[in-house]
């Protein structure tokens, strides 16, 4: 296929191609090297990818665009999926490593100065074909971008498409790719059908907030922020429609990862863990997962009860007002009406607090539960890499044994041909074994780095959000004091 003719890509997606070119000139990292490494196996690679994914039972989302029909955008540099292609050039990871350091340097200098906001949800279209478009605004001083401030419009499937690309490129080599927000057929249907009620507004807000957090986590990653797909997502005004997102949703990817994990377990791999660090960390993440889930459940209960409290307070306020009206003693009647007003304000407070409980505390925990699943997935990828290496070793051994047998055999004419063949095969498998070992070492190294980074981020993230949450609680108490102090003289005025 015409993948080498990348720069004159299909008429339906001119921008990405030109962007690609610009990227290449702007920095000397990834994309350029990618250009060199593209080879003909690319098609097979993608065919493989789509096949694998479609084995999952995807949630069908109607595909509406007139966009390009290729399943995955042709712009993605593919070389990073190193172990799927038989690489003709060794050392893609190490080249990549260099670029990582470079970005981190820049990042250190700029304090990773980038901020993304997702805003202005706008309904586009009507009925079941409708969708929500979100405005994605980036403010940054990083030089990998063309401008310092810019916006684009994106829909939910675009986000899923981005995630699927990143996941397919980076997860199997050990990078923790932040998971995309979950799909929700029920929630989205309500919005499409035009139910302008509270629950659909809340749903859109919940999604908007989740998308914003997702992008921020993605761009905070020093490797991911450089990825041309990420840059294109943020900058390019037109994005080729991510068509296979029904299969490649966040949940779909996670399912893929989990399936891989299950497969790994079923293979009864008894991995000789030479590195205690990995064992320890896996156990830690397992515990953390459990505790976070429990905490998340407790906070969800809190949100629920706080909402109930708000509703019951409002109901009491109304009742108190009626009582005040019925009261024939003038001063007491006034005081009861005032009480009703206070309780009404307090009900608002409770509602606001419930929002804070949810958007700050509960969603943080939910995000981390999903992130940890991604972390666990990465550990499983390492095991898969290890097992592939082991398999190669086993194969090599078999070939060597076969060779030895040939040498002992006594059929001179067929022998030479067979010997040559076997020799070729042995060379091939030796190469695979070496590659397998390198891959394993690389992924182990990457994971160590990623986990270190993850833990630092986690601490920062929690601290920032928890402080914000506590400040919301402080605010609620301050307001309570205000309201009751205003009511007190009214109560004292009853005579």
């Amino acid at each position: 296929m015409a993948h080498k003719a990348k720069n004159h890509s299909s008429p339906s997606s001119p921008e990405p191609a030109s962007l690609q070119v610009e990227d290449v000139s702007a920095n000397s990292n990834g994309p350029k090297t990618a250009e060199i490494l593209i080879d003909d196996d690319q098609d097979d690679l993608f065919a493989e990818a789509t096949e694998e994914v479609s084995l999952d039972s995807p949630e069908r989302e109607p595909i509406l665009s007139d966009g390009p029909s290729p399943a995955i955008t042709p712009v993605t540099p593919t070389a990073l999926i190193s172990n799927r292609i038989e690489p003709k050039v060794i050392g893609v990871p190490s080249m990549f490593e260099r670029s990582l350091d470079e970005v981190e340097e820049e990042a250190g200098g700029d304090l990773f100065d980038i901020n993304i906001s997702v805003s202005d949800p706008e309904k586009v279209g009507d009925g079941m074909n409708a969708y929500m478009a979100y405005k994605v605004t980036t403010k940054t001083s990083l030089t990998i971008f063309n401008q310092s401030e810019f916006s684009v419009k994106r829909r939910f499937s675009d986000f899923l498409g981005l995630h699927s690309k990143l996941a397919s490129k980076y997860m199997h080599i050990g990078y923790i790719v932040p998971p995309a927000p979950e799909k929700s057929i029920v929630g989205m249907t309500k919005v499409k059908v035009g139910k302008e009620d509270l629950s659909s507004t809340e749903f859109v807000e919940k999604r908007r907030s989740a998308l914003e957090r997702y992008l921020m986590r993605t761009v905070k990653h020093p490797t991911l922020i450089q990825d041309p797909d990420v840059i294109q997502f943020l900058e390019s005004s037109e994005l080729p429609r991510a068509v296979s997102t029904q299969a490649l949703s966040g949940a779909g990817i996670l399912r893929m990862v989990n399936k891989a994990a299950d497969a790994v377990n079923k293979m009864t791999i008894k991995m000789n863990e030479s590195d205690a660090w990995f064992e320890e960390k896996q156990q830690q993440f397992e515990n953390l997962d459990q505790q976070l889930r429990k905490l998340h459940a407790s906070v969800e209960a809190l949100v629920c009860h706080r909402k109930e409290l708000s509703v019951n307070t409002a109901s009491f306020a109304r009742s108190a007002a009626m009582l005040g009206n019925s009261e024939d003693h003038t001063a007491l009647s006034r005081a009861l009406s005032q009480l009703a007003e206070v309780e009404e304000k307090i009900d608002q407070l409770h509602q606001e607090q419930a929002y804070a409980d949810f958007y700050l505390f509960s969603e943080l925990l939910g995000d981390y539960v999903r992130l940890i699943t991604a972390v666990k997935g990465v550990f499983d990828q390492r095991m898969k890499t290890w097992s592939k290496w082991q398999d190669a070793q086993v194969m090599l051994q078999k070939k060597r044994e076969a060779e030895a047998k040939l040498h002992l055999a006594n059929k001179p004419d067929k022998l030479q041909q067979a010997k040559d063949e076997i020799k070729e095969e042995i060379e091939e498998w030796e190469g695979k074994v070496q590659q397998g070992e390198r891959d394993f070492e690389q992924i182990s190294k990457t994971i160590r780095k990623e986990v270190g980074r993850f833990e630092k981020e986690r601490v920062k993230d929690f601290k920032v959000v928890i402080i914000k949450y506590l400040e919301s609680l402080v605010h609620t108490q301050q307001q309570l004091i205000k309201y009751w102090e205003a009511f007190l003289p009214e109560a004292k005025a009853i005579a």
């Binding site: 409290l309 109901s315 009582l323 007491l332 309570l480 007190l488 004292k492």
Partner: protein
């Protein structure tokens, strides 16, 4: 809950008085200094201090059960002479159903919690038991104090027996049931509203009172149930803080990475939930209990109106009977006498009823004032504690 003697603390003394103007008269002072909880039965120690000569001793105590209070109330209701008075509402039966149910559920869910979490929930439930207990003591005490501070009831013979008789009252109770059979009480229960609203009211005062009381009763009943729901939600939030705190504790214990602030956060939530728990229980005592009590009191006022309406109906019937007798020229004198009696009864009822209802309003307004002020003050106090706790934690986290 097994038997336990619960000396009532200073706090409890302050927490009392949903009603006011009680126990002011030094000639007869009544209180319930302690109570015993034996399985389902609560035994109250009723302590009396008096300067009145009608009692045998100046100071004495007896042990009484809830049923004894009900007996006393019923005898008062059945007493014709008291028809023109608002009989203080009977204290409701001690109800430990809610905390007991929660304790049961807690037992079932024990496996899913950490030891600490379970201990804290249990502690919380025991506090709830205690709160129910305190409430029931309060409401029984107020009943007696209403009687002791009333010029007529304080002299009631059965009331004296209740206070003084140092033996078990259960024998007397059984006799009383046989005697009265709860006749009047049952009558009052049926269709009182219909009768009250049905009769034409000539007297302006009673007309207004009738309209007011009927409407007010339904409003206060609604307010009481809404306040109950609100308080329960508050308790649920406080309980959730326990779970959050417990899980944060487990997290910080297991986490080797420097998430030390999780420990502080766990501690914070533990302290917060105590304050929230107090907010809920104070709201219950000052608001919900207040509404609940006056709902019952207004029912008692309505009962008075009912009795008066009955007396009026009796009088009207007597009038009709007199007219009939005059027509037939038979038993006129008898009919006339009966008519006079009914009229007198009705007039006495109206007179004392007016007095009672007026003083009732005064009492009610004062009680509301007192409790609303106290509730507002407590809310402010608790919100300030919460704020101090929260701000302290935020400072700590920011400084790290």
């Amino acid at each position: 809950m097994s038997s336990s003697f619960l000396p009532l603390s200073e706090e409890m003394f302050q927490a009392r008085s949903v009603s006011v103007d009680l126990n002011n008269d030094a000639s007869l002072l009544i209180d319930i200094p302690d109570a015993l909880c034996e399985r389902d039965k609560v035994k109250f120690t009723v302590h009396t201090k008096t300067t009145l000569g009608t009692f045998q001793k100046p100071e004495f105590s007896v042990s009484r059960q809830h049923e004894d209070f009900i007996w006393l109330h019923d005898t008062l209701v059945e007493t014709e002479e008291y028809a023109g008075l608002i009989i203080p509402p009977a204290p409701p039966k001690p109800d430990f159903e809610s905390p007991r149910e929660k304790m049961h559920k807690l037992g079932e869910g024990e496996a899913s919690m950490t030891k600490e979490e379970y201990a804290k929930m249990k502690q919380e439930l025991e506090a709830e038991y205690l709160a129910v207990f305190k409430k029931t003591v309060q409401v029984h005490e107020i009943f007696l104090q209403r009687l002791s501070s009333h010029p007529v009831f304080s002299k009631d013979r059965n009331f004296q027996i209740f206070l003084e008789y140092d033996q078990d009252l259960s024998v007397r109770r059984k006799n009383a049931k046989e005697m009265f059979g709860g006749f009047f009480k049952n009558m009052v229960k049926t269709a009182d509203e219909v009768l009250i609203s049905g009769t034409k009211e000539v007297d302006e005062f009673f007309d207004q009172e009738k309209t007011f009381l009927l409407d007010y009763f339904s409003k206060i009943k609604d307010a009481t149930s809404k306040a109950e729901k609100m308080t329960r939600s508050h308790k649920n939030v406080a309980d959730d803080y326990i779970h959050v705190s417990a899980t944060l504790n487990s997290l910080s214990a297991e986490d080797s990475t420097p998430l030390k602030h999780l420990e502080k956060l766990a501690d914070l939530f533990e302290k917060l939930r105590k304050v929230e728990g107090r907010v809920a229980s104070d709201q219950e005592l000052k608001l919900t209990e207040l509404l609940r009590y006056y709902m019952r009191d207004i029912q008692a006022a309505k009962d008075l109106l009912y009795r008066r309406a009955r007396a009026l109906a009796d009088y009207e019937n007597a009038n009709k009977a007199l007219d009939k007798a005059r027509l037939k020229s038979k038993d006129v004198a008898q009919a006339q006498q009966h008519q006079q009696q009914c009229l007198q009864k009705f007039d006495t009822l109206s007179e004392s009823g007016k007095k009672e209802l007026t003083s009732f309003k005064g009492r009610r307004v004062l009680a509301f004032r007192k409790n609303l002020i106290e509730m507002a003050e407590l809310e402010i106090k608790h919100a300030k504690s919460n704020m101090a706790l929260l701000q302290g934690c935020v400072e700590l986290l920011k400084s790290n």
